[in-house]
């Protein structure tokens, strides 16, 4: 579905991504891991159009999308969340999500339709707060959920989730991880998930890709990756128990 061929990204003399190639299959739940600064968010930025890759190609269902603007890439079916939630703080929760529902669709929906779908997404995500309230009232978990809700409201085929569990307590983590799984299982959205919480990620994903210093160093089933010596050395530090 998503195919990266030799994607590199340099900032001045700094090489954030170096000839990364990777395939995401239709309907897959893919984990993307790596130490801080390994290029995970840069990869998301190159795919979602925040900036174009310096070299290489990004294809979605066979069509090149590198160099397109973020709004066009969004309309092609890719949505992303931010590691640090970036809600529009002066708009209500519902307005935040309804904007995504309205602008995310190439054929614009009526006001009522967009709002109805925004409410559906909020229900699915399980955001209990009053939708007319400002996002400032939400805690860390609520803001992470709002990020997911905005991304989903654009009606994506592929969701790039950037550390949706960061900063949550164990119960909130369990809930949010479960939501991600339902997004894939029930909505049929392909998910690429960046996370540092290894135990949770490894339990849920179909496949894992590991980045280190901007390069792909491993790829495979969670079990194979967890036992890969290069991965252990670069990142995990020690073997992690999967069960």
């Amino acid at each position: 579905m998503l195919s990266l061929q030799n994607v590199s990204k340099t900032f001045g003399g700094f090489r954030a991504l170096l000839r990364v190639s990777l395939e995401v299959r239709e309907g897959e739940f893919l984990g993307l891991i790596g130490p801080n600064g390994s290029g995970k968010t840069t990869l998301f930025n190159c795919v979602s159009g925040v900036f174009p890759p310096s070299e290489g190609s990004v294809r979605l269902r066979g069509e090149a999308i590198d160099g397109l603007t973020p709004d066009v890439i969004c309309h092609r079916g890719i949505a992303r969340t931010f590691q640090i939630p970036r809600p529009f703080r002066k708009l209500s929760i519902l307005e935040n999500v309804a904007l995504a529902a309205h602008f995310g669709h190439p054929t614009r929906e009526s006001d009522a339709q967009a709002r109805a779908r925004a409410r559906d997404v909020l229900r699915l995500i399980g955001l209990p707060a009053d939708p007319e309230a400002r996002p400032g009232l939400l805690g860390a978990a609520g803001l992470k959920k709002l990020e997911l809700a905005r991304a989903l409201a654009t009606g994506p085929a592929l969701l790039l989730a950037d550390e949706p569990l960061g900063g949550l307590d164990p119960e909130e983590m369990r809930q949010t991880a479960d939501t991600l799984r339902r997004i894939r299982d029930e909505m049929g959205v392909t998910v690429v998930w960046v996370e540092h919480i290894m135990a949770t990620l490894m339990r849920l994903v179909d496949r894992v890709v590991v980045l280190d210093h901007g390069e792909k160093i491993a790829e495979g089933s969670p079990r194979a990756v967890a036992e890969d010596l290069r991965v252990i050395e670069a990142y995990l530090g020690e073997k992690i128990a999967l069960e």
């Binding site: 979602s48 159009g49 925040v50 603007t69 973020p70 709004d71 969004c74 309309h75 949505a79 992303r80 931010f82 970036r86 529009f88 703080r89 002066k90 708009l91 307005e95 309804a98 904007l99 995504a100 309205h102 602008f103 995310g104 669709h105 614009r108 006001d111 967009a114 905005r150 409201a153 654009t154």
Partner: protein, 287 residues
């Protein structure tokens, strides 16, 4: 000093404040969304004033029709300013952007001088003076204030009740996030520039019924508009309205207690003190 005279000055201050607020909101809207200060904003107002003046005096259009045409003309001008001047320099350093919109200011002033000389031109409307509780108020000012309020209400409903308006507010908070949600930034910028231009056109209409126009009109209202925008907090709409009223009251009441020149001195001192005390604007919050 007669209490009625001071009350009259206070009311005139509010009336002037309405038009100043309209100017400040237009400039603020463009700055908040496109992140570029249109130094030539009040010179677009001057173009709107000339448009009304010539349509009425040379072509004999009725004033309301000329007013609508002027608003539309300056809205189109706003679009062109964005397409021709702003969009090529969106990613340039701020100083280049200031120089470009500053260049537009000199272009408009020089072009107006070339076409219409430096003569002060007035519509010479015979609008009545209204007496309220012993105060003598100019009908033109009351009219201008009313339409300024209507213009601001229109902007408010547009920004809160429509998707493109809500997107415009969202852009001023996080332009990257709204683009990733599928909003076409180019379209948002164009709509904002057209509305900002339209508001400059409306301000032009409201000013030509009170003042005479000349190529350097921008120098009269430009500095005070920028001061209001900065004092209210760049991008802060409500702050701009409050700052407009504060400044117009100082100018109006100071004008009759001392002199207009002295009133401007006091206004600028208040501005300087206010940016020392609250650099983020009188109603601004530190982010």
């Amino acid at each position: 000093m007669d209490a009625v005279l001071i009350a009259e000055a206070a009311v005139n201050g509010i009336l002037l404040g309405g038009v100043l607020a309209l100017l400040a909101l237009g400039l603020n809207l463009i700055f908040g969304v496109v992140d570029i200060v249109w130094i030539a904003y009040v010179d677009l107002v001057m173009v709107g004033m000339y448009a009304v003046y010539w349509l009425v005096t040379a072509y004999g259009w009725p004033l309301p029709l000329a007013a609508v045409a002027a608003v539309a003309l300056v809205a189109v001008l706003g679009l062109l300013v964005h397409l021709l001047i702003i969009s090529p320099i969106l990613a340039s350093p701020p100083v280049n952007q200031l120089l470009a919109t500053g260049g537009l200011l000199f272009f408009l002033q020089a072009f107006a001088t070339f076409l219409w000389t430096t003569d002060h031109r007035s519509l010479r409307l015979a609008l009545p003076v209204v007496e309220v509780f012993g105060m003598y108020l100019s009908f033109a000012r009351l009219l201008a204030f009313t339409f300024a309020i209507l213009g601001m209400l229109g902007l408010y409903f547009f920004l809160t009740r429509t998707y493109i308006g809500t997107a415009i507010r969202a852009v001023s908070q996080d332009r990257e996030a709204i683009a990733l949600m599928g909003a076409d930034m180019r379209r948002v910028y164009l709509v904002t520039s057209a509305i900002g231009g339209g508001m400059a056109g409306l301000a032009g209409v409201l000013l030509i019924i009170q003042y005479s126009v000349h190529p350097h009109f921008g120098a009269t209202f430009g500095p005070i508009t920028f001061i209001i925008v900065v004092m209210g907090g760049l991008g802060n709409m409500f702050g701009a309205v409050v700052a407009s009223l504060v400044m117009s009251e100082v100018i109006s009441i100071g004008g009759i207690l001392a002199s207009t020149e002295m009133a401007y001195v006091v206004a600028f001192v208040i501005f300087i003190v206010s940016i020392f005390v609250r650099p983020e604007g009188i109603l601004g919050r530190r982010e």
